[in-house]
Amino acid sequence: MKDVYKIREDFPILKKKINDTDLVYFDNAATSQTPKQVIQKIVDYYEQYNSNIHRGLHSLSADATNQYELSRKIIQKHFGIKNNHEVIFTSGTTHGINIVSSGLESQINSSDELIVSEMEHHSNIVPWQILCEKTDAKLKVIPINKEGSLDIDTFKTMLNKNVKFVFINHVSNSLGTINPIEEIIELAHKNNSKVLLDGAQGAAHFKINLSEINVDYYVASAHKLCGPTGVGFLYGKSELLEALPPYQGGGEMISSVTFEKTEYADLPYKFEAGTPNISGVIGFGAAIDYMNDIGFDNIESYEQELLKYATDRLKEIPGIKIYGNAVNKICIISFNLSSHHPSDIGSILDQFGIAVRTGQHCTQPVMDYYNIPGTVRVSLSFYNTKSEIDLFIDALEKTSNMLG
């Protein structure tokens, strides 16, 4: 990989001081930082060709439309998607899930079963609970085990002819576990069940080819991938997206409107009602380009090195308990220190300039499983360094002393 200190020069925010000390940003699983190449692309849009897409005949609109559609092509190529129109721009992962969950209402009935896992983010639980409330379908849960992996044997026993869907994350946002999605998709498909994969945490850490893994739906957010907030995408196989009703009505998503009947536009526009987050989508494309320039293979191996270093150093501290010890995991470490409340640790670490996440991480069932109020979560990225990990460990030791 390119020298990490060279890479860091791309990220203006990493020079920031907190309390007169250098910022150590270890909350990348919540939001990754944005390189200047992406920021510049967004600035260019507002300075050079800010206008609405797909509508105007004028030059600015043509430029904006071209750049917007270029992002769709970048995402299509990066994620190994067969057809360009299978990429639907959304406001983020949650929006993508809700397009599917609300659209499935007419396809689901009271004898159906839907499967989620115990390690899902709330955004991959609540929309399905709402769907179940509306349709009387049953929601079933794949359990996790102590190391923080899915119990695949139990999953196999849960599959029966009533199971219509499996909704699963690629990577757990609170434990870091990488799930065996190829196996899950294969088992589900053999059972004639469709699979929606929540890629919010996976997409930033390794490359994935959606055609090869043959997943039915996939959702992700730009802001976890060095892109802007408020934008993401939904992938769905053409025939599945065509069978879903529109999520929102409005401009751009129609082919003709009369008061008698409105014809909807074809994919992808059927799901892109109204003026979208144009600069966000353009920035999203630039972010994928940026990460590909660094190289996902490089990112993956460097992040694994950071994960090992951080885990080893954390284990030196007396009273550390790490939650999520799966063999395959990304650079997320959830932990508690003695009996201290995670929010106490997070507050004091913040004073040392170290940004971590504390609490339940929108995964209350995981916290309930371990019977804890929450954890401190360190989530690393390719622009973090071992010396930052050393600063963090030093601050954590001081925090531990303060709390006594």
């Binding site: 309390n19 409340h341 929010s343 106490d344 004091i348 004073q351 609490g359 303060m402 709390l403």
Partner: protein, 140 residues
Amino acid sequence: MENIESIQQEIINEFDFFDEWSEKYQYLIDLGKNLPTFNEINRVNENIVKGCQSNVWLHAEIIDDKIFYTADSDAIISKGIISILISVFSGQKPEDIITAKIDFIDKIGLSNHLSLTRANGLLAMVKQIKIYAMAYGSKK
């Protein structure tokens, strides 16, 4: 019993001694550790203060027209903050609590050092303290 204003001033004076954020935090932690034990009978859902990242329980009772607060939290810094709030409000008359102007939080320079979620939690605690006072005040 001193009035709310003079107790706040004492707290401000106390915090003036500290130059470093770490000393302020250490003081809060020590206050938290010394918070009187909470009566388990009062650890009920109705006493949970909504809007805090950690669990906070706040109980109020009226004795001789004055309100006495007890509280607990599973986080030690929250307990420290609670301890200060109790020293300000506990034993005061409902009408004084309702009308009290709370400015010590900004003046002790802690708001800069309390992340927003904590600051919101602190405001939620003050609000709950005042709600109890209003409830008792209206009963009178």
